[in-house]
């Protein structure tokens, strides 16, 4: 049961330039969130929040998400100890995305064991092949 109240989204200008939080949720009740590291500036992960995750993040200052695979509130670090302490919590112009800047406890955000989930890159400025997928380079 959440108590958080959000502003109305009826007026586009107010949403884009006003001072009231009016997030846009998709038809699953979710909004995408990108999480970056306060120390390195790197993107650590991309995840999703519902209203409850937003409420818990604001009230505790620790990152909470909604796990789509488990369909439940996900307090990051609750099982691993790798909590994320929120340094900044931001929304974008049309309020359909969120950005968390965090201190990542333990230093490894990714369950595969890397500091960032985004540990592989794709080469650009090359023709794509019609027979082979682009190759990923591990370079973290």
């Amino acid at each position: 049961m959440t108590k958080i109240q959000f502003a109305d989204r009826a007026d586009r200008k107010t949403v884009e330039t006003g001072d009231a939080f009016a997030p846009k949720f998709d038809d699953q009740g979710l909004i995408p969130v990108v999480t970056t590291c306060a120390t390195t500036g790197r993107v650590l992960m991309q995840a999703w929040m519902n209203a409850e995750a937003i409420e818990r993040t604001i009230e505790t200052g620790e990152a909470h998400y909604f796990s789509r695979s488990r369909q439940e509130l996900w307090h990051k670090g609750a099982t691993s100890g790798e909590f994320q302490l929120v340094k900044e919590f931001r929304t974008d112009c049309d309020q359909d995305a969120l950005w968390l800047v965090v201190e990542q406890k333990g230093g490894k955000c990714c369950h595969v064991g890397h500091p960032s989930c985004f540990y592989r890159s794709i080469t650009v400025n090359i023709p794509v092949s019609d027979t082979e997928p682009p190759k990923l380079n591990t370079d973290d």
Copy 2:
């Protein structure tokens, strides 16, 4: 008409740790992408790509997205001149999100006139109100 080929997603371990690009698209054929500034490290915007946008981004080295509001390929900067030159293009462990590091031409990513779309913050570590929405602070 796209020619890009993606790898199969049947094997979770290969998706999470392998070297073949196997992006996961949602039921609209889209994948979320976060774009950060190569100079400041800030998150500039959050958007979406389809297969064609990925192909055009790889081949040209300039950010292409899929506009959900216009339902068409969106070459960022094509009308404004504010192109995004791709410095890094990354995917995450389960390959359901992308990260672009760009040089933002013109310096203003956001259509409202700010350098970043995320120009407003939400205060954390406070109780949420059950009558008023959280207040946004403009601080870019």
